[in-house]
């Protein structure tokens, strides 16, 4: 089931997203270093790694919210930094983004949130109503939530509205930034189901940044594990693992197994030592 849309696309030499030697730093803090990553059309890619390893930054680089310090980020062969304003907007609409906190516009109702991107495209109001109704239904929200304000919603509902809003524009690729963080186990599984459903209904490419191993096991074709730069020796690659989710548990790298099994080992001691060195 997982490989539904990935069969032919996997072999395609024409990836929808391509990162070439991408490095990113904020001020003097280096987040990403020399990342090479191709995402074939139709694939569902999971990106894992501990907090602060640059997963979210990676997503924001792909959608062009951030510019790489070094290297190139290509979306469908185009480099966002070289596009004109209007072309950039057009390309960005092909990408859906589910933000970590859903990032709903809190002055607008659920309906207006989902309709927002469509209105910006000057679509007819009747079409918009139809799309909003469909998308809310798709993410399992009753029509009565349409008139609610984001502040009245629970965390899980906000995430689902965020997903409906991103899907309203029929993106070719969905980026999920920690879609299940802060949700209870049931709601986590609901979101996982939605991610699966989303790709079953349309030939969509997905990139999911997560800490949640259940999401990895259930939803993805391929996993990439990033490691914080600050913990690497110079010259070591930042991508520790790139392969199938099944292979993750068999990985030889100690650090990969430590992460998926959630074992701190001597990390606490190490963290304390780092703190000392800083102060």
């Amino acid at each position: 089931m997982v490989a539904q849309f990935s069969g032919d696309a996997m072999n395609s030499a024409d990836p929808i997203v391509s990162l070439q030697q991408v490095s990113m730093q904020f001020g003097s803090t280096r987040i990403l270093h020399a990342i090479d990553l191709d995402v074939p059309r139709g694939q569902t890619l999971g990106i894992i790694g501990e907090s602060g390893c640059g997963k979210t930054v990676l997503l924001k680089l792909i959608v062009g919210l951030l510019r790489p310090s070094v290297g190139r980020v290509l979306f469908d062969g185009k480099e966002f930094v070289r596009l004109s304003e209007s072309e950039l907007t057009r390309q960005r609409l092909r990408i859906g983004f589910l933000f970590q906190g859903a990032a709903l516009f809190d002055s607008l109702t659920v309906y207006d949130n989902v309709a927002f991107g469509l209105r910006a495209q000057r679509r007819a109001e009747a079409d918009i109503a139809e799309v909003v109704r469909q998308r809310l239904q798709e993410v399992g929200l009753p029509w009565s939530t349409a008139t609610k304000m984001p502040a009245e919603l629970s965390g899980g509902m906000r995430k689902r509205v965020g997903l409906a809003r991103a899907l309203a524009l029929d993106p070719e690729i969905m980026l999920y930034d920690e879609p299940t963080t802060g949700l209870d186990p049931i709601m986590t599984d609901v979101i996982n189901e939605l991610i699966l459903q989303t790709r079953q209904r349309r030939p969509i490419t997905s990139i999911i940044v997560t800490h949640e191993m259940r999401t990895i096991d259930k939803c993805v074709d391929r996993v990439v594990m990033l490691y914080p730069l600050s913990r690497l020796q110079p010259g070591q690659p930042q991508i520790l693992y790139d392969g199938s989710p099944a292979g993750l548990r068999l990985a030889e790298d100690e650090r990969v197994r430590q992460f998926i099994e959630g074992q701190a080992r001597d990390r606490l001691v190490e963290l304390a030592r780092q703190e000392e060195a800083h102060s």
Binding site: V63, L65, I95, F97, F99, F105, G117, A120, R165, L169
Partner: protein, 262 residues
């Protein structure tokens, strides 16, 4: 010292670029559906505070100048000094500062919160330029509403001053108004309405830019709001000086006779 200079230059450059984007958005009427609610929020919400401060400014001017004018027997001329101060300076500046305090810092805090909660990023992802969508209607609302608020502040200031002079200090009302009339001309009224438009523009641009430029976290939001107010206030006072100079020169050149009348 040198780095402070560079920082200031950097801020000025960013503000300039930001302003161009906002102005461009004004022409394409970006975010026009939010304009009316913003006008209500900025304008209607500021009416009470402008009314109260305007009245008291007029009253305190009367109170402070009465004794001095009285001592030289010129109390009937009080109207001229009070009304021209209110209409040329205090009304516009007061409206600008009130708007900066009430609206500017709230605007900065709102935009900063939107940035922290990734709503600004979300706008971008939905194909909307956040600077134009959020900045332009705020700019337009501030620029169009501030003259209205100034008129209100002026009116209340004039009334407040007249109330204290005529009813409390028993200045002859006929002469009070007659003297006022001679000293406040059409040009003064007009310049008193042109200046606040610049104050409103500066306040809106500075406050929005501070909001967009905010650092993460609750502290960043708070700091953006404070900085928005302080920077707007300083900008308003400095602009006021230069605009006064410019407008006075224009008046002297175009209507050399108008000064002689006084």
């Amino acid at each position: 010292m040198f780095s402070w200079f560079l920082d200031t230059l950097d801020h000025a450059g960013q503000l300039t670029l930001f302003s161009f984007r906002v102005l461009r958005g004004c022409f394409s009427l970006a975010g026009r559906e939010t304009l009316l609610p913003l006008c209500v929020q900025f304008g209607w919400g500021s009416v009470p505070v402008v009314l109260v401060t305007g009245t008291f400014i007029g009253m305190v001017l009367a109170e402070q100048s009465y004794a001095q004018f009285r001592s030289v027997g010129l109390q009937t001329s009080l109207g001229s000094i009070i009304n021209s101060s209110v209409i040329k300076e205090l009304g516009p500046v007061l409206a600008g500062v009130m708007l900066a305090g009430r609206v500017g810092s709230a605007m900065a805090a709102e935009l900063a919160t939107m940035k922290v909660t990734e709503q600004i990023d979300a706008l971008r992802c939905l194909g909307v330029d956040p600077v134009q969508y959020l900045g332009s209607p705020r700019f337009l609302a501030a620029v169009t509403l501030i003259p209205v608020l100034t008129v209100l502040a002026n009116f209340m200031g004039v009334m407040g001053g007249a109330f204290i002079c005529i009813y409390v200090y028993r200045v002859e009302s006929h002469f009070y108004w007659q003297n006022s009339q001679g000293y406040v001309g059409l040009f003064d009224l007009a310049s008193g309405l042109i200046k606040p438009m610049f104050f409103g523009a500066a306040m809106a641009l500075i406050s929005c830019q501070r909001g967009f430029d905010s650092e993460p976290g609750a502290q960043g939001v708070g700091r953006a709001a404070t900085r928005a107010f302080v920077a707007s206030f300083v900008a308003i006072i400095i602009l006021d000086f230069f605009l006064a100079m410019l407008l006075n020169n224009l008046e002297a050149q175009w209507w050399p006779s108008s000064r002689g009348m006084r």
